[in-house]
Structure formats: structure tokens, C-alpha cells
């Protein structure tokens, strides 16, 4: 007979698993139960995580333990977020938000230019040729990227030759999307298999053993 604690916890997990699957048929009290439970639990989990992994190491320790008083600045900014609790002073919260957004956008400008634009561009600079497979494929990639970029033009009407290129571009995109979709099916199915495994190979034997032991 399995330890009663494990059994209860695992049975709860199995029950919640069924609750979520029941949503496939229609929205129902079981799903609502699981949904609201997980919303509360996850919010609490994340909040505690922020407390222990965020507030304590990033604010409490630096200021009170290491005496890095300059950490008071973000601390105060954080406090300013709380002005949102009052209608009258809510506008003050724009300062921390401005800082927050400023950091994000500032970092993004060069970083995204490097990782998304320059790197992709240099990656496409490969030798093209018509007398070997690799060369031809490289050529096709370059053409594909070119046409797809044409599709993204906003300030030019998609008609005539330009429209033709754009159309070829969107075809390329569609092949990519189709491939992405088809490629993903396998991964999604294995997620389902894992759940079935949990029910059939972890929970059920445990449950059966218990029932067997009791009756």
C-alpha cells in the first residue's frame, strides 16, 4: 500500500487533470473549479517567488546587509507604483513606468538591430551558384527572403511586377507557416502522451494498490 500522503496528493493531481480535460466537452463546474484554483495558487506562487527571489536579494540584502544605499532609488521608484491605489496621485506612477519603459526600449534598439537584423542579414550572405545543390538552395533562400521582405512593404501598392514579387513572398511565408504547423503536431501529441502516462502509469497503479489494500 502506497504512503497515504502521496496517494492523496497524486489523486488530487489526477482529479485536476480530468477537470481540465473536461473543458474539451464544454465549460463546466469542474473546469471552473480547477481554473479558479490554479489562478489563485499561481498568483500566490509568483508573488512569493518575487518576494523571496526578488525583493530580498535585490533590495533587502543590498541596502540593509551590504549597505548599498543607492539601491534605495529603485526601491523608491517601486513604492511610487503604489500611488496607483489613489485616483488623485495615480499620475505619479508614470515615473517608475517611464523608467521601466525607458530601460526596455533603450536596450532593445541596438540589441534587436544586431540579433534580428544584422545577424540574419549576414547569415544570408552565403555563396550562391547554379551548379551545385547547396549553391542553388542558398540562391533560393536569398530570393525567398527578398520577396518576403517585399511583401512587408507598407508604403507601396502591391500591384504590377512589385505585386507579383510580393505574392511570391507571401507564398514563401505560407510554406513556412504550413511547415511550422506540421512540424509541431508531434510535439503537441507527446504532451498529451505524457499526461496519459501520468494517469495510467503513476496515478492508477498507486490508486489500485490502495484500493486492493483496503478491500
Amino acid at each position: 500500500m502506497p504512503p497515504i500522503g502521496d496517494l492523496l496528493w497524486t489523486t488530487l493531481a489526477a482529479f485536476l487533470t480530468f477537470c481540465i480535460f473536461s473543458f474539451l466537452y464544454k465549460d463546466n463546474p469542474f473546469y471552473k473549479f480547477a481554473e479558479h484554483l490554479v489562478v489563485g495558487v499561481s498568483a500566490g506562487y509568483f508573488a512569493m517567488l518575487l518576494w523571496y527571489e526578488g525583493l530580498i536579494p535585490k533590495l533587502y540584502v543590498p541596502i540593509l546587509k551590504e549597505g548599498k544605499l543607492y539601491y534605495l532609488i529603485p526601491g523608491i521608484l517601486g513604492l511610487l507604483m503604489w500611488t496607483r491605489f489613489s485616483r488623485k496621485w495615480a499620475w505619479i506612477s508614470r515615473y517608475p513606468i517611464a523608467v521601466y519603459v525607458g530601460i526596455g526600449t533603450g536596450v532593445a534598439i541596438p540589441l534587436e538591430m544586431q540579433t534580428k537584423v544584422v545577424r540574419q542579414l549576414s547569415a544570408s550572405m552565403t555563396a550562391i551558384s547554379l551548379n551545385n545543390a547547396t549553391g542553388i538552395n542558398n540562391l533560393l533562400v536569398v530570393i525567398g527572403v527578398f520577396c518576403a521582405l517585399v511583401y512587408f512593404f507598407f508604403s507601396k501598392e502591391h500591384k504590377g511586377a512589385f505585386g507579383g514579387i510580393a505574392r511570391f513572398g507571401i507564398w514563401t511565408l505560407m510554406i513556412g507557416f504550413g511547415a511550422g504547423f506540421g512540424l509541431t503536431v508531434m510535439g503537441r501529441v507527446s504532451l498529451l502522451i505524457d499526461r496519459v502516462k501520468f494517469l495510467a502509469e503513476t496515478w492508477w497503479p498507486m490508486f489500485k494498490a490502495f484500493v486492493g489494500a483496503v478491500f
Partner: protein
């Protein structure tokens, strides 16, 4: 409501039901589905079959437990195949968290075939810096591994008597979820002309097909799919195959629904034309 309308406007719950069945039935009821075996997998299998009793093979189990799901089946089936043919194995585990897992696997399978450490196989275990270890083994296994995983000096192992370096093993098969394969390619294959094949995770596979074309790898197994192909070839269908069976059925079901939807669509169009 016309038949084609039914086909097109099928309540999606029927789809869900079919998917559920498509996963559950093959999960609980084992049955055969034909598995197409790719040449790059068959190449490895044929090579293994070509080995004679007493030949030595280097099996590198260079993956962490987190890649177990995808790679354990391959390592298992290959080890079984080797032992069943009385091929001797030199086994390394060049991934930091791998050695324990590899040790369990070896213990289990060597028991199945009554194989003894030091006689039928030699488990070297783990040492840091895979690049250097692989290179050093090209000189002599004893440079990085003076003694095996269990602390027995290599020189005292009967099986290792006249095995010095890669020249004395028929080939290296690297089962890996890490970049160890890159070191095997550079420091093993390129430097010492090791005959090399690899089994990698599904996501890694795409990056290594080029090496297949260039002949630096004589075979390549991609994730669970490669493993299942190999299980079929070696005729010991196990975990990978049953997983693949479910995948195959599920994919067929999805495909069928796409077909059904389109049949309905065409019938609808034909219907419109008539009226």
C-alpha cells in the same frame, strides 16, 4: 442539412474524441505500424550487424538525464544489439550529469546478457573537457582514463589488453544531447579518422545532416524517430516504437480530418455549381 455540410461543419468535439482515441488505443493496445527506416539509420544498423564476435565498438553515452526520453532508447537498443552479437564495448559518458544514468543502463543490460565489466565491456565514465578527453583518447585511452569508472586500472582489464586508442575500435557511435558530437567530429573524426556515427535529439538533428552528406558521419539517428526506426531494424520494439506508434496514428487522424474537411468543401462547391 446536406452530407457535405455535415462534413464541413463537424462539431469539433468529434475531432477531439478521435484524437483522444487515436492516442489512447495505441497507448494501451500494442500493435504494429510500418515504420519507414531512413538510410542514415539503416547505415548504422547494417554496420553494427557487420561486426563480428570479439570486435570492439566505442559507444559514447554523452547525454544528460534531461535528454533521456529521446536518447535512452537508442543507447539501450544499440547496447543490446552489440552484446547479443558478443561485440565488446568501450563506453564513455562525457556529459557532466550523465555517468550515473549511463552506469545504471550498463548494469541493467549487461545483466540481461550476462556480460562482465572488464571482459565484455569497459565503462570509462566521465572526465571534464570533452574536447581534450576525446583528443587524448586518440593517443591512448589511458591518458584521460588511467582506470575505468569503477577505479580498476585499464591495464589490468583483460579486454583492454591490446586496445590502445581509436585504431583498435571499429567505430565510435556518439549518443548525445550536447555539443560533444562537435568535439567527436573535430578531435575524433577529423584528427584521427575515427569512423563516426551519431544519435542526437530531434532539435539538433537538422544541424548535423550536412556532416552526413560530407561523409564525416556514416549514420545519424534523429531523436525518438531515429530510435524507433532502429528498434524496428533491430527487431526489439520498445519505448521509442510505442511512442512512434501513437504519433503515427495521431498524425494519420489529423491528416484524415484535413481530407474530410476538403471533401466536404469540394462537395459544397459542386453543390453550389449545380444550383
Amino acid at each position: 442539412m446536406a452530407f457535405y455540410e455535415k462534413l464541413m461543419g463537424l462539431d469539433r468535439r468529434w475531432v477531439y474524441l478521435c484524437v483522444g482515441i487515436a492516442v489512447l488505443i495505441p497507448f494501451f493496445i500494442p500493435f504494429d505500424v510500418p515504420v519507414y527506416t531512413t538510410p542514415e539509420v539503416k547505415a548504422v544498423y547494417d554496420f553494427m550487424e557487420s561486426l563480428k564476435e570479439g570486435d570492439v565498438l566505442f559507444l559514447a553515452i554523452d547525454y544528460d538525464p534531461n535528454a533521456m526520453a529521446e536518447l535512452h532508447p537508442t543507447a539501450t537498443v544499440m547496447m543490446r544489439q552489440a552484446f547479443s552479437k558478443n561485440v565488446k564495448l568501450v563506453i564513455s559518458a562525457l556529459s557532466q550529469n550523465g555517468p550515473g544514468m549511463a552506469e545504471q543502463l550498463i548494469a541493467q543490460i549487461s545483466k540481461e546478457y550476462g556480460k562482465k565489466s572488464g571482459v565484455d565491456y569497459c565503462y570509462l565514465g566521465y572526465k571534464p573537457y570533452p574536447g581534450i578527453v576525446i583528443l587524448a583518447m586518440g593517443q591512448n585511452f589511458r591518458i584521460p582514463f588511467p582506470s575505468d569508472y569503477y577505479g580498476v586500472p585499464l591495464d589490468s582489464l583483460p579486454m583492454m589488453k591490446n586496445i590502445k586508442n581509436y585504431d583498435d575500435v571499429k567505430a565510435v557511435i556518439d549518443v548525445t544531447g550536447t555539443n560533444a558530437i562537435d568535439y567527436w567530429l573535430v578531435n575524433g573524426n577529423a584528427r584521427y579518422k575515427v569512423k563516426l556515427a551519431a544519435a542526437v535529439t530531434g532539435v539538433m538533428a537538422a544541424d548535423y545532416y550536412p556532416y552526413l552528406q560530407s561523409g564525416q558521419l556514416f549514420g545519424l539517428l534523429s531523436g525518438l524517430k531515429g530510435a524507433s526506426e532502429y528498434e524496428v531494424l533491430a527487431n526489439q520494439k520498445g519505448f521509442a516504437f510505442s511512442g512512434m506508434r501513437i504519433q503515427t496514428v495521431a498524425h494519420i487522424v489529423v491528416t484524415l480530418f484535413i481530407v474530410i474537411g476538403n471533401i466536404g468543401f469540394f462537395m459544397a462547391r459542386a453543390g453550389k455549381r449545380r444550383s
